[in-house]
Symmetry: C2
Subunit: 165 residues, 2 copies
Amino acid sequence: MEIYLIRHGIAVDSTADLADADRWLTKQGIKKTLQVASSLRRLDLEFDIILASPLLRAQQTADLLISKDLSAKQEIHADLAPHGSLDSWIHWLQDYERTHPHAQRLALVGHEPCLSTWAEMLLFNQVFHRLHLKKAGIIALDWPTATHPIGNCQLNWLIPPKCWL
Amino acid sequence: MEIYLIRHGIAVDSTADLADADRWLTKQGIKKTLQVASSLRRLDLEFDIILASPLLRAQQTADLLISKDLSAKQEIHADLAPHGSLDSWIHWLQDYERTHPHAQRLALVGHEPCLSTWAEMLLFNQVFHRLHLKKAGIIALDWPTATHPIGNCQLNWLIPPKCWL
């Protein structure tokens, strides 16, 4: 199975009147995220499901991916929010794998520094803070079928949005 | 400084009559490598120098990058060949940095599993064999200025050729 960790696009700053969870994507953030989504579509990628953090900017990012037909299914997962639990969404994924044995490709939309930290745990079972994931950037991993994913994934992509021309 | 580790394109297999060092790029290998080179050019990337392994397939890959105006300078470095020494080309780069204080971006063309292993040493000072670098794929790193690069680089890109559409 392939797992695509996608960081939300550029969002407005939070203010005294605007909670972090309610920050929306800027026009530039929407434009760049749509460019990334179109490029993924040109690669013929399709996700069995897009799982997204409940925060508005992640939900909007998932909506933009859906608008380019990258998936027919979308769900919210509370543990993709900042300070969410890696173990919790790994369990969700393992359940999904069991109940959807033909699933090939899942997208998870979330935040930094969680996504790159989780990726390092999945790849190395250690955190180095050495992966630089831009907004609307993507980390693609191969997820092992026979072993626990922590320390056993493979890194296939780390792609910032500007590289999708 | 940014360092781009670029794996040579698809080459013919070696045979009893064809030594590994003399394997040339296939038509498909040339086509894909040129697509990657054109995409890098569209990003306005320019390398201060392209350093390549002496093996024919790496030399041809460097020539294709040069043909798309990605650099005006090309050199052979013996330690970019398989079984070359990471320390040796790190010393070369440190000398280059000293004598070219305005250098911004260097490309190194070589082979697997060396390139991804060296990248892991530069990122983590450990080897995990967790980076999947395809032929004509690119690993881009931020190279630190004030400290030794081993364990202190940052991963900016890991991009397989198919993602440059």
